[in-house]
Symmetry: C4
Subunit: 233 residues, 4 copies
């Protein structure tokens, strides 16, 4: 069937045209989404953006319906990773139709997930996904260890700095922000210890913590090499 | 014996229930510990937190006694890593009973080590521990090298910046804080060189030091891979 | 032929002298280029710099002509990497001859590419280039993933912080600057989240993003080892 | 001979005592050196520090003479790495004897190299040294590439930011400080781009530069593994 070929088979001529059309749509959508957030847009321009948004959503909806129709196993597609992303890319629009409640504004944010539709078109991204799957267990170790270290760091710095800087290190919860900014070495400079005890504690925490927070990069890069070697065999 | 099974054998039904109960206790304890540090708590709420703390400590004490009773070798458990952590999780409470001397406040901080009780329940954390053991020697190299580099950096920047910024770089001890924040690349921005000499020195220190400070992440990630391979064999 | 030997064959005596002369020229050119940007230069000094610039460009032009004349395949050299770099090193001067339009000032910047002429003289740089070629595919993955993560981070932080800090997080475009400074862990401290939501989002973004942004270093260092092993075989 | 045994053979009883004595001396020396920089020291205390310094230097001088006397090949020791470090550890004192010219103050700084005397007593540090030797060639690549990238970054940011922030980005030389703080991801926050062009340029520079600046850590950690494997064979 011609439609199935177009939607599902990327290596045929109609399939390639369909894919390029979707890629262009994603690009327009992302640009329009970003432009929308610019301050001081004229009402006419905002209106144009709204019309673009409506057209894009219509086209993504048609794409979604076509993918369901042409899928060999419809339910499997709907509940697949790509199926859910395709749905999230259009759902916020329909859920906000007619209503403009402030509380629902957050839904609009879901539209940024349209960028993830790109993954389908990138073979290299797939390899990245396989590399991540390869290190799933290590990733769990890493996240547990990171959570424990962040908590201990936050509790410790709160103890040392609370009295001197009661505003900044109000509670352990507030101190977690410091722990995040410090252990990732971002160090914005909005929160930092000033007491000798707090600084010594920061030193100890960094010496122990850096080794753990920086581990995943090493894991991912060796997993990528492994996935590549496996492919070459 | 039923009690031993419950406490020591995680793969039986009573063992699993006991483990989950302890995990829930740890979670409640950590949350209550953090909430306690929030500012502007009402006296009633503080009272409730105190009661929760008393109940949790009682239950952890019962857990500790049960573990001693059911341990095949009692002394070995008491002086094991887990035994000491279990003791630290309750000891501060008893040491502070009746007294509220300011100097002893620091003891309360020891309660955050309760979070380390989690390690017993995580097989992946054990693997992490084995990976750390694997690189013990390299870790010693790293810490020695880091200490030497931090000291030389602090002494050097003190020499260059002392006159221009006498407040910030008062002594070598004060300058160590700069060395820590810089060589870990945190860079809060509270202390930084302003003279040409100090900046050139910072450049040299970073070129030599980054390679050393960032090493442990690489060591840990390759040790993790090795531990995993050993397990698979 | 003597001229060809001098220009093309680095392992002969005249070749070595020619190479050293070019290296010295590059060094003088880079220093003069940098000194030119110093504020408060006297008109006489500026005049001297201009004369140095003219002489250097003349000499680089002679070098370029000699390389074309002595190249076994002239067109191939002109369109090779080195040929283009050699042209860029002199072209801006001729394009600005006589005219000093403000809009063309940017062309002067092209002169900094003269530093790339150094690559020809460094065998180790060549190895670096081969290592980069080795990981071309992974580099594409990395750049795609980085672009996607930066965009999602910017859109997310804009959502959380826009209302509290409308000046700093004006639009998604403005927020990308925050995403760049944060995910590379530079953290200048000119832009950072202040709301609880924004901070929690930053935490999530850093946990997911650090593993990706820090990957290329791992890839390059393993590619360098591989290139070296291949050479040794 | 008894003296030779004491000085040169660490595995005998007198050798061990000698080594421990030197280690204690190094520690006292480093502490006294640091305390000296503290502000508001009383004249009496400063006097005590001076006496400690004189005694330490005398003892290090005796150590140096003993090492020369007992060395199997005297000249070889004097010009060895350890021999030079041992000399630097005492030379500044003698060069400053009687004179206290301001210009010679910098010589006092040389005393911090006493900390490097520690290396002799650490077998693990030796392994670190061998690992560094292993990657000598790659280190040269890295330093060349880093220098080129820093220069191009500085020249570029100067072009973009010079007009908007003439004070901060005065010249290419001033801009190198920004390039160092940014590409090492320290990001103090004292210097950062504010124009759209400068920010876009920073993004490009970071994407290209991070992969290079972070490479040495990977190289060192894999060299350490290699050195270890070689030892085990």
């Amino acid at each position: 069937m011609n439609l199935r070929q177009m939607v599902q088979e990327s290596d045929t001529a109609p399939g390639r045209i369909f894919d390029i059309a979707v890629l262009v749509l994603i690009a327009i959508s992302i640009i329009s989404l970003s432009v929308e957030t610019l301050p001081n847009l004229s009402p006419q321009f905002k209106h144009s953006l709204l019309i673009i948004e409506i057209i894009i959503t219509m086209l993504f909806t048609i794409e979604y319906i076509l993918r369901i129709i042409t899928a060999p196993k419809k339910l499997r597609y709907i509940f697949s990773f790509y199926g859910i992303i395709d749905l999230i890319a259009i759902a916020p629009f329909y859920m906000l139709l007619g209503i403009d409640l402030y509380a629902l504004r957050a839904l609009r944010l879901l539209r940024i997930f349209r960028i993830i539709k790109l993954v389908r078109y990138s073979k290299t991204m797939e390899r990245f996904g396989r590399a991540l799957a390869e290190i799933r267990e290590e990733a769990i170790i890493f996240f547990t260890a990171t959570a424990v270290i962040l908590y201990i760091s936050a509790a410790g710095i709160h103890h040392f700095e609370h009295e001197t800087q009661p505003e900044v290190f109000q509670s352990i919860f507030h101190s977690i922000w410091w722990a995040v900014a410090t252990l990732t070495t971002v160090g914005y400079g909005d929160v930092y210890p000033v007491t000798a005890g707090g600084r010594a504690f920061t030193f100890v925490v960094l010496m122990c913590g850096l080794g753990i927070v920086a581990v995943p990069a090493g894991l991912i890069s060796s997993a990528l090499s492994k996935v590549r070697r496996d492919e070459e065999d």
